[in-house]
């Protein structure tokens, strides 16, 4: 695959602008952007297992939560600096994803989806009942500082996650994952070690979610089981990836930018309104553009006719 330079140049320019941005922006906008980077990084991380590998995980928030708690515990109970606690938190989430993935990735379709949902719910319950996690009352991080370091950390994680997706879209390992998505038996017959590939993809996905969770914990300074293991966080990852285009590199990013902006505007009105909006977007996207924005960009055509065609495709 030949590298097209236009998107790379555009990416560099956007990054340069973002890198210089925090000084010039209002605190509110900085907070909004940190949140946006986090959601985009989560959408990209979900894309590794859900988009490329075709395993629709409905429980990726478990890795986000494990990363947040691992980092949080190291920061508070062991008094590690963030520079050590964050990579450790990411590693714990990665390991957790790998270990839980081994049995769970044997399941397919609905079974896998619900099993991952179960993992997230179970983790919330376990964290609720453990002493070291502060049980139901949660953990309070040391002190809140300037948000600027978190801005760069989240941005860094997002860039890394996006680059990994880019690598997957044009590498042997990535092709292996896509082969698994298209036809797992055929992939295995071609000599792909499917259990290993799937587990690695799941662990990679978990690592980025865990890193995002670790930064989240220190940034927000307070974590509790209900806030960190939210089903709605998983929905956001999924819907941003689907809205933009699953299995594409820029799709999840695009979806996050559009949906997080709208959602932010609505949540200034009422929090439940933002959630309601998320639900409606899920329904509308599935009906009208199941292949995401990326499809329209690729075809360079955005028409009502295409939307109606999508709507009629699967009806009974």
């Amino acid at each position: 695959m030949k590298t097209r330079w236009a998107p790379v140049a555009a990416g560099v320019v956007v990054l340069a602008v973002l890198a210089a941005a925090p000084a010039a922006l209002s605190p509110f906008l900085v907070q909004f952007l940190i949140n946006l980077f986090m959601l985009a990084a989560l959408a990209e991380s979900w894309n590794i297992i859900g988009g490329f590998t075709g395993y629709a995980s409905f429980g990726n928030v478990a890795f986000f939560g494990v990363g947040a708690y691992a980092t949080g515990i190291l920061l508070t109970r062991a008094a590690w600096p963030l520079a050590l606690a964050l990579p450790a938190g990411g590693a714990v989430a990665m390991l957790f994803a790998g270990l839980i993935g081994m049995p769970i990735l044997r399941l397919k379709g609905h079974y896998f989806a619900i099993a991952t949902l179960g993992v997230a719910e179970t983790m919330r319950e376990i964290v609720y009942n453990l002493e070291i996690t502060g049980a139901g009352t949660g953990l309070v991080m040391p002190i809140s500082r300037s948000p600027i370091p978190f801005f760069y950390l989240m941005l860094g994680i997002l860039v890394a996650a996006t680059l990994v997706n880019r690598w997957l879209s044009a590498s042997r390992f990535g092709y292996g994952l896509i082969a698994i998505r298209e036809d797992e038996d055929a992939a295995a017959a071609m000599g792909i070690n499917t259990p290993l590939y799937k587990t690695l993809a799941f662990a990679l996905s978990g690592a980025f979610a865990g890193l995002a969770g670790g930064v989240f914990a220190d940034w927000i300074t307070f974590i509790d089981p209900d806030g960190v293991f939210k089903v709605s966080t998983t929905i956001q990852m999924i819907i941003m990836a689907v809205f933009g285009g699953m299995g594409t590199v820029v799709g999840p990013l695009l979806g996050a930018v559009v949906l997080a902006s709208i959602s932010e505007l609505l949540s200034t009105q009422l929090v439940s309104l933002a959630e309601l909006f998320n639900g409606l977007v899920v329904i509308l996207v599935v009906l009208f553009m199941p292949k995401g924005l990326a499809e329209f960009i690729r075809k360079r055509e955005f028409s009502v006719r295409q939307l109606v065609r999508n709507l009629r495709e699967y009806r009974v």
Binding site: A113, G118, I126, E275, G279, I283
Partner: protein, 288 residues
Amino acid sequence: MLALQVLINGILLGGLYGLMALGMSLIWGVMNIVNIAHGALIMLGAYLTFWLFTLWGWDPFVSLPVTIALLFVYGYCLQRYLLNLIVRAQLFLTLLITFGVEVVMVNLVRVAWSSDLRQVTPAYAGAHFKVGGITVPYVRLWVFLTTVILSVTFLLILEKTRLGRAIRATSEELRAARLAGIPVAHIYAITFGLGAALAGAAGGLWGMLFPITPIMGGGLTLKSFVVAVLGGLGTMMGAIVGGLVLGIAESFSATYLGPTYPNAISFGLLVLILIVRPTGLVGRRGSA
């Protein structure tokens, strides 16, 4: 003696789990939709019962047919005008859209009726009787008997009536059913309506035993799924057997391991059964 008491508690609760799973298993078996909004339908049934009880003083058992009828209509419309549009898409999309429906329902209820904990407390809520040292609360017994009546009625509809035959035919082979003159879109909608009605009934009964909140459905969707898989997918008897197994397992684990891990138990059971016996307890062939 304690063990017997725990067993009875488990069976009484298990009947309700079976009723929940029956609706989920029906929708899954006929249309291959795993309805994530199933718990939200249960929640809606519980709220309807609560409002009929609180506003008009209707006894929860008396209002049950009203709840069932309303949920049937709601489910029918949901399938006819929304889910039928997407029913032939890949699993991920049907799963996702019911996820969306769940989020919308939960948040609408939250906005309309707040997140407060609600309870249905008829005068006889605390009454119970004892047989040889075993305590049986009346409400739990009546709830159990109601689930038995509803389950049997439902199974009879599915097995013995023309409608039931049409549903089963559609589930077996969509195209052949259509050729035989079965209005498939209508049958799908009726199927979902029946599933929703069962969920609503389960919700109305659940509300007599446990508190009602907008988010109560999430865990119940998971439980319904576990029970449906446990018993064997698409087999209606399986859902009932699975419900009893989960009820008994939960009851024993709550007594002997502590009550803090209800979801972990059902989830552990799910993974176990998927690995050991993927076709379920009653199922015959694999459908994964």
